[in-house]
């Protein structure tokens, strides 16, 4: 089983407060114009009017990146749409890397004060056919997530747990290291 479509989400730190989310529109438009990220950057979609919605989104051919409020938790959500090369582990790692790069670029932008927590992320399967919200599907990805966590958080105790959610919702795993890590450090 090697799903092509899945998502990751990093949460904003509790003290992150964005007064006016419209600033993300300016920032993402600039990034598209100056091609600041890898991938085919396409457009900005503004869903900030929708409560607990995906906020402002940068749409790329491969991935949608959104400053998302899903489940009432603000953070950087990345939805991989096009299959990347490699094994499941390589694919997940590749999305994590591009999401971390996105987050780092955002943290360094002087127009907004967003900090993301590096020590924890969600893995969300986005393919109910190949990775349904079941124990078996969780078992099939757990090992890969653990292996990835060892790479991302060397010398740390890491837990990979299945989020208890609506069975109709997507399979979601919480990957969490014991001690806080900045995104900056993760990117290194």
């Amino acid at each position: 089983m090697n799903p092509e479509r899945f998502c990751v989400k990093f949460f904003a730190t509790p003290d992150t407060q964005v007064e006016n989310e419209a600033i993300f529109i300016d920032i993402f438009q600039d990034w598209i114009k100056h091609r600041k990220l890898d991938g085919v950057l396409l457009d900005v979609a503004d869903y900030s009017h929708v409560p607990s919605g995906p906020g402002v989104m940068l749409v790329a051919y491969e991935t949608n990146y959104a400053m998302d409020h899903g489940d009432g938790q603000f953070g950087l959500y990345a939805q991989r749409k096009v299959a990347a090369e490699g094994s499941q582990q390589e694919r997940i790692l590749s999305l994590l890397k591009s999401t971390i790069a996105f987050g780092k670029l955002l943290e360094s932008d002087s127009r907004v004060d967003v900090k993301l927590e590096g020590h924890k992320f969600l893995y969300i399967s986005n393919d109910r056919l190949n990775a349904p919200n079941t124990d078996e599907a969780f078992a099939a990805v757990k090992g890969d997530l653990e292996a990835i966590a060892t790479q991302l958080y060397p010398h740390q105790t890491v837990t990979v747990t299945r989020l208890e959610n609506d069975p109709r919702a997507r399979l979601t795993a919480v990957v969490e290291a014991q001690t806080p890590v900045s995104l900056e450090a993760l990117a290194a």
Binding site: A22, Q29, Y47, V59
Partner: protein
């Protein structure tokens, strides 16, 4: 494509759940995709096949996007692959999902949530024709998405293309206090009958059908549909029977038409055969080549309603009897919904706590008391028609718990829950609040309808959604959604003159336009007032002039303040507009049209929710800067005021004589605009209409200089037609039509002028040079 490499596919998993004919159609489409990928199927043909399955293109899918300074090519991995002419395969697209009469079951809601999450961007958008749209989709995901929809009985077939589009109906059908009878079943049976029917495959253009349960309310919007049916009872052979008043030839779009009465009473058994006869006459005689004249409204207008009716009745006699016309009639009562006998919360007392006040306000604005005592319907006011996949999934649970298991979408881009026990309202409110679907002010002044506009539509000129979001926020701050005196005011915004938001029938409507100021583009909206949502949208609004996008919220506040302070007792907004007069209102909003220069305030040169410097480069061809001349500007500006006078003439009472005078003025306005443009070729161009028309044809039509990138020669043809028919007898409808055409012609003249300026065509010498260059290119 299907995820075959991984063994199991949706095609296999859902094989037993999909109706066989739907499954087969989807397989066929998947094959067509494969053929297109190998270039074995022409891109034009593929585009039509794709559209007939509701899979649209989206803005920037030609592979270019303007970043505010220049148009950049989008580096798709395989730019050579196309899904239509100038349409990149890898560019994201939109899917329209048809919901007949806006009905959706809880099970369907779950699937919609799943596919929005997996293939789209987690957002489900309700459209102005009770459809659903998903955006930013990959072509490869379309067949599986269609399968998953088919597994719960939804087809996207003919959601687009020149065929019968979604059949709409009042969302309150079956529970409305004023309806004659429930039209739900009739709407659905009509939709099913025509789906894929051979007689609806050869239309020149789309065909929209709407059902309404009564005459007086707008919910069905029958006046603006190609075929409109209003429930009615009549005594036939001494017995009271249910039937329909039938209307044809309505439509919004660039030139709006009010539908004409086709038949005062059609019995249910005649509903489908007669509609079919209409479809056949339309397919046979309707315009096919010129898309812009192809809606049935043009055919009805050309033939006259009497002749059209005669032809249809003739046609009806020739159609062979089809059992499907009537075999559903005996089951029509099966559409009745059966509510739970007891309230869910019977005997419980729900503590609203801090929410008690908000609950009260919500109850006042979002709750409708059904005809059936003890039951209510509840409107969920969706911001810009959007909700998240997660909300939809949670909502499906609420639907299962509190209703007979289904909900309806509305043309105001909301969702309606029906058959709620009144006693359950507090519990329902809390359940909705938990998923943020509890906002008050449904169908109020803040519940603004907007088409996709520049967000995703290829034809968008201004950001209708950006504007709507801004207005919503500003008006909510004033708490105008709770003001009972503003209860009847609707705001609707379209991104261009195509009217997809149905702005023409709103009390306050807007549609996108752009103007050149100095050497820069400024996004604008045309202000449309005087429309009427009541009486099945029986009155269309008219343009009062353009306002820079960034001043539109100020104008709305100004108009509302003016209404609140100057209205007479009980006077509705549209009556107020009528009494004060458009001329006065236009004068009073004029100060808002001023635009500071770029250096003073750059904000005017950007659109809402977009930080890029505004361009129209993404709709037409790229732009380059040029210098400014004004002889033409003067001419076009004069034309605008002549046009406006024409609209005023039609408002005067008594009407006698004004109809012809109004049409003459509308023609005069077009001639003036054309004359203004012609100054570029010949500064001394004669004022003689014959000379203007001839010279315009030679210099602007034959050279295609006046052609709109999408509408091509459509706008020019308005001038030619107006001139040719100048001595004919003018009906009120024709006068209205020519006035609309005149407005569009003037709009096109603005555009043409801007294009000329930017290509350096500012003098007879420049014009000649352009002609010579053009000939060199074509040789």
């Amino acid at each position: 494509m299907t995820t075959e490499q991984q063994g199991v596919t949706w095609k296999q998993v859902l094989a037993d759940k999909m109706p066989a004919h739907l499954a087969e159609e989807i397989d066929t489409f998947e094959n067509q995709m494969a053929l297109r990928m190998q270039d074995k199927l022409d891109e034009k043909v593929f585009a039509e096949l794709r559209l007939r399955r509701g899979a649209y293109g989206q803005r920037y899918d030609n592979g270019y996007r303007h970043d505010g300074e220049r148009s950049q090519a989008i580096p798709f991995p395989q730019p050579e692959l196309t899904k239509g002419p100038d349409t990149k395969w890898q560019a994201p697209g939109m899917q329209r999902i048809k919901l007949p009469y806006g009905g959706m079951t809880a099970e369907q809601m779950d699937v919609l949530a799943d596919i929005a999450e997996e293939y789209s961007d987690c957002i489900i958008h309700i459209t102005t024709r009770q459809d659903i749209q998903l955006h930013f989709l990959r072509m490869e995901d379309i067949p599986d998405m269609h399968r998953r929809l088919a597994s719960v009985g939804i087809t996207t077939r003919e959601a687009c293309g020149n065929s019968v589009r979604n059949v709409t109906a009042c969302p309150l059908a079956g529970v409305c206090r004023d309806e004659v009878f429930d039209v739900t079943g009739y709407a659905n049976e009509t939709a099913q009958y025509f789906l894929g029917h051979k007689d609806v495959q050869d239309f020149g253009r789309k065909f929209k059908i709407a059902f309404s349960g009564c005459q007086q309310h707008p919910c069905g919007l029958t006046s603006m549909h190609d075929l409109g049916l209003i429930a009615k009872k009549a005594v036939v052979d001494g017995e009271e029977k249910e039937g329909f008043e039938m209307y044809v030839g309505g439509g919004l779009g660039a030139v709006p038409f009010l539908a004409k009465l086709f038949d005062e009473f059609v019995l249910p058994e005649e509903l489908l055969p007669l509609s079919q006869a209409i479809a056949r006459v339309y397919a046979r005689l309707g315009e096919k080549k010129n898309r812009n004249k192809a809606r049935i409204k043009f055919l009805v207008s050309k033939l006259g309603i009497d002749e059209f009716r005669r032809l249809v009745k003739e046609e009806r006699k020739t159609i062979e009897n089809d059992p499907e016309w009537t075999n559903w009639l005996n089951n029509i009562r099966s559409y009745e919904e059966k509510p739970a006998p007891e309230p869910l919360t019977k005997g419980e007392s729900i503590d609203l706590g801090d929410a008690a006040n908000d609950f009260q306000r919500w109850k006042e604005s979002n709750v409708y008391y059904q005809r059936q005592a003890g039951f209510v319907s509840v409107t969920l006011a969706l911001p810009l028609g959007d909700l998240t996949a997660q909300q939809m999934r949670d909502l499906s649970n609420i639907v299962r718990k509190f209703t007979p298991g289904a909900a309806r979408t509305t043309v105001e881009q909301n969702i309606l829950l029906r058959w709620i026990h009144e006693a359950d309202l507090p519990a329902l409110y809390l359940a909705l609040k938990a998923i943020s679907l509890h906002e008050a002010g449904a169908e109020s002044i803040i519940d603004i309808t907007a088409c996709p506009g520049t967000d995703t539509c290829k034809l968008g000129i201004s950001s209708s959604r950006g504007l709507a979001a801004e207005l919503r926020q500003r008006l909510a701050e004033k708490e105008w959604q709770y003001d009972v005196s503003l209860r009847d005011i609707r705001i609707k915004a379209s991104g261009c003159f195509n009217s997809c938001s149905q702005h023409t029938v709103a009390e306050i409507g807007f549609y996108g336009a752009s103007r050149l100021v100095g050497q820069r583009r400024v996004p604008h909206f045309q202000l449309v007032l005087g429309g009427e949502w009541g009486n099945n949208a029986a009155q269309y609004g008219q343009g009062l002039g353009v306002i820079p996008s960034k001043r539109v919220p100020d104008v709305v506040e100004f108009l509302i303040d003016m209404y609140l302070s100057e209205r007479q007792d009980g006077e509705k907004f549209s009556a107020f507009v009528h009494r004060i007069g458009k001329k006065t209102i236009r004068e009073r909003v004029k100060p808002f049209a001023a635009i500071p220069d770029y250096e003073t305030n750059k904000e005017f040169y950007r659109d809402w929710a977009d930080s890029r410097e505004y361009t129209i480069g993404d709709i037409g061809i790229g732009e380059c800067a040029g210098e400014v001349v004004t002889l033409t500007d003067f001419g076009v500006a004069k034309a605008e005021s002549i046009y406006f006078d024409a609209t005023l003439l039609l408002e005067e009472q008594p009407m006698n004589g004004n109809v012809k005078a109004a049409a003459d003025k509308a023609l005069e306005a077009m001639l003036k605009a054309a004359h203004g443009l012609l100054k570029v070729c010949d500064i001394d161009i004669s004022e003689d209409p014959a000379v203007i028309v001839q010279s315009f044809r030679t210099n602007f039509y034959d050279t295609r200089l006046f052609f709109d990138p999408f509408a091509k020669g459509k706008f020019a043809s308005y001038l030619f037609k107006g001139y040719e028919q100048r001595d004919e007898v003018i009906t009120l409808d024709r006068a209205r039509e020519i006035i609309e055409e005149s407005r569009l012609f003037i709009e096109a003249a603005h555009e043409c002028n801007a294009r000329m300026l930017q290509s350096g065509i500012t003098s007879p010498a420049g014009f000649k040079k352009w002609l010579v260059d053009r000939e060199m290119q074509t040789v």
